[in-house]
């Protein structure tokens, strides 16, 4: 139970939107350093599951523990939890009225109470890592989609999270920009960051993922290492799905 390496533990997670039950009881654990890739058809509930991990979707029932602390408890400090969980969205969701630098420093400065110098130094360092140091004073509208998504990733990293959630980070990008974003994510995985990624990029899943999770109709239909997952799929739905996307 008290495995120090478990960052997120999910117990019987259920979520309904009105009469529609999207998640029908999910159990899983996410350990430190894992790169969990979630795949599934659209409408399968994979995004809802991911968003439930930082409570952007409130579960209807079930429990989620973050480092052994139950965050689904009504008394839990959700904002504090979210500071430790970085989130990257399909639509980037940068703040258009702020410069890139400000996008990246507002969180650390207002929530982590870092000084401006400290926050800016860290932000520039992160921007250098993704090759966007020179765009620090640009506004999001001046960037390409790929650049925006890279900024979104480092904005989340600036909060120094324990785990990063990616919700289809490349789905809104032009094909030629997918590569630059995936490169950043690979780099991040290589640095040992714990990641949960919802994606349709099977190449990325195979190459970077430590565990693949196939969600079908609100349950984890199959999971495993990339090798067994792609070479020997068991669930008929997974076979069908892989035959379509590969």
């Amino acid at each position: 139970m008290s495995d120090k390496n478990v960052i997120l533990r999910v117990e019987d997670l259920k979520k309904s939107f009105g009469a529609l039950e999207v998640l029908k009881g999910i159990h899983t654990e996410i350990r430190k350093g894992e790169v969990v890739v979630i795949i599934g058809a659209s409408g399968s509930g994979k995004s809802t599951f991911l968003r439930a991990l930082n409570l952007l979707e409130m579960p209807t029932s079930g429990k989620i523990f973050f480092e052994e602390e139950e965050i689904t408890d009504p008394k839990a400090n959700i904002n504090h939890h979210r500071q430790k969980v970085g989130m990257v969205f399909q639509q980037f969701n940068l703040f258009p009225h702020m410069t890139i630098l400000k996008n990246m420093t507002i969180g650390p400065m207002s929530l982590l109470k870092k000084s401006r110098e400290e926050a800016e130094t860290r932000a520039l360092e992160l921007l250098r890592r993704v090759g966007l140091e020179d765009r620090a004073n640009a506004y999001p509208a001046q960037l390409s989609g790929g650049q925006k998504q890279r900024v979104a990733i480092v904005r989340a990293l600036a909060m120094e999270p324990e785990v990063m959630l990616f919700d289809e980070p490349t789905s809104a990008l032009d094909p030629e920009m997918v590569g630059e974003v995936l490169a950043v994510m690979k780099d991040l995985a290589a640095s040992g960051m714990t990641m949960v990624v919802v994606t349709h990029e099977m190449g990325f899943a195979r190459e970077v993922g430590t565990r693949i999770m196939f969600i079908h109709e609100g349950t984890v239909a199959e999971e495993g290492t990339p090798e067994e997952f792609f070479q020997n799929p068991k669930h008929p739905r997974l076979k069908e799905f892989l035959s379509k996307v590969l």
Binding site: N79, R82, F89, Q91, F95, P96, H97, Q142
Partner: protein, 465 residues
């Protein structure tokens, strides 16, 4: 392509310049050297002068008729003016009736008072005509004591219609020829006390006495304004300048507009500020309710507020807020107007801002929350700044609407710009000058504000591109 545009705009400029030159030439021509259409002989001028002047005294005005017997006027020289006028140099002889009346004024008014007082004590009515007839002997003595006077005077004939001349009866001319008779009524009006049995009596409100004296010297009604000649440009310009002077310069009447403008601007600024604050609060309550389902009771209150304010005319709101709610507890008009327009504007601002907030992508809220910001902090840091930027032009337009709407404040007697114009109108009885000026002032401010809004919009767009 670029050259073509330049060529066509050059042509436009040339046409505009030509029109401007033509207009200036026409105006200059209108004001220079407009001579009468025919010459006039000394004899004819003499005839017009005598006929006009000698028909002036009213036949019943004994004093005036008596003076007339002594008046002689001779036209010495005739020359042309440049404004359809003829300048006559004249010699005149007359009686200095003004000095005579001034000298005898005390005894005249005392006698008049005595007669009317005694008649009244006997129960008889004494009107101005009766009083004058009773005073006749004393008046005759006064006139016969008047000293002869003589001198030179310049009279003007104006060509009022083609070939037809009329004498310009200025007060100056009348005073010269009739020995100060144009001045006489004004002098008599200054007599406000009479002596009766060694007592000083105030006769400020006793018009009968003064009218009796004035009637003796009364002249037929004549127009002492300079005759309007020249073409329509000159006439229009004259009447414009006269009206302008009468409506704004005379008695410093422009101050009504200046103070009114100040009031209008302060009402608009204060109410606008109140509206923005109120509107944002209401909008945030409504949005929070829509997004999170909280604040149900306050949201209901806000909904009622919005329906009532947006469902009734602002004038009715103003009348109710002032006369029903605030006047009984002694709130001044200005403050009531500010409160009313602030409340009114708040409702419209709320809907604008709510639209702005709802139009912000949901992802912005999620991004803020996912970083660990609370709902309120996300609103403050990310949603409201964006919404504010998005609705700023609409807010500015609301402000412009408010400026214009504030003109109904005059219904509760606030001295705003509109009221200033109406005040001048009630003093001068002219309509177009004060009303059009008020409209032009509103228009000017609105145009300036619109321009500023445009600049602001461009500035905002630029900052993010």
């Amino acid at each position: 392509m670029k050259k073509k545009i330049k060529a066509s705009s050059l042509v436009l400029w040339c046409v505009a310049a030509a029109l401007l030159v033509a207009a200036v030439a026409f105006v200059v021509y209108s004001f220079t050297d407009v001579r009468p259409s025919r010459e006039i002989s000394k004899e004819e001028a003499q005839g017009i002068v005598e006929e006009t002047l000698f028909s002036l005294p009213k036949p019943v005005a004994d004093g005036a008729m008596a003076v007339l017997e002594h008046v002689q006027i001779t036209v010495k020289d005739v020359s042309f003016g440049t404004n359809k006028d003829v300048i006559l140099q004249c010699d005149y002889k007359t009686l200095d009736v003004l000095s005579a009346v001034k000298k005898d004024s005390a005894s005249l008014i005392n006698e008049a008072y005595r007669i009317s007082k005694e008649a009244k004590d006997e129960g008889k009515m004494m009107n101005a005509t009766k009083l004058r007839l009773t005073l006749k002997e004393k008046l005759d003595t006064c006139i016969s004591s008047a000293q002869p006077a003589a001198g030179e005077v310049t009279l003007y004939l104006y060509e009022v219609a083609e070939g037809e001349f009329s004498l310009y009866l200025s007060d100056e001319a009348i005073n010269a020829v009739f020995g100060g008779m144009a001045e006489l009524p004004r002098f008599i009006d200054t007599l406000t006390t009479a002596q009766y049995k060694n007592e000083t009596v105030d006769i400020t409100n006793n018009a009968t006495l003064r009218t009796a004296l004035k009637d003796c010297f009364s002249l037929v009604n004549y127009d002492n304004a300079q005759p309007v000649t020249g073409n329509f440009v000159v006439r229009a310009w004259r009447s414009f300048t006269t009206d302008f002077h009468r409506n704004f310069v005379q008695d410093n009447r422009w101050i009504y507009l200046a103070e009114g403008l100040g009031t209008t601007l302060s009402i608009t600024a204060l109410a606008g500020l109140m509206g923005v604050v109120l509107g944002f609060v209401v909008a945030i309550v409504r949005c929070t309710n829509e997004m999170t389902g909280g604040l149900t009771v306050i949201d209901k209150v806000c909904r009622v507020y919005l329906s009532v304010i947006r469902g009734t005319p602002v004038m009715v709101q103003l009348l109710i807020i002032y006369f029903v709610l605030l006047l009984p507890i002694g709130v001044p008009k200005f403050l009531s107007a500010v409160l009313c327009f602030g409340l009114n504007s708040g409702a419209y601002v709320a809907e604008i801002v709510r639209g702005g907030i709802m139009a912000i992508d949901r992802g912005q809220m999620e991004a803020g929350r996912s970083l660990g910001f609370g709902y309120a902090a996300t609103m403050v840091h990310f949603i409201i700044p964006q919404a504010f930027k998005a609705v700023l032009p609409a807010l500015a337009n609301e402000f412009i609407t408010l400026l214009k709407e504030s003109s109904v404040a005059f219904y509760i007697g606030v001295a705003d710009l509109t009221q200033g114009g109406l005040k001048i109108r009630s003093l001068t009885y002219s309509n177009y000058m004060p009303l059009i000026t008020v409209a032009l002032i509103y228009l000017a401010i609105v145009l300036i504000l619109t321009r500023l809004v445009g600049l602001l919009e461009r500035r905002l767009r630029k900052s993010e591109r």
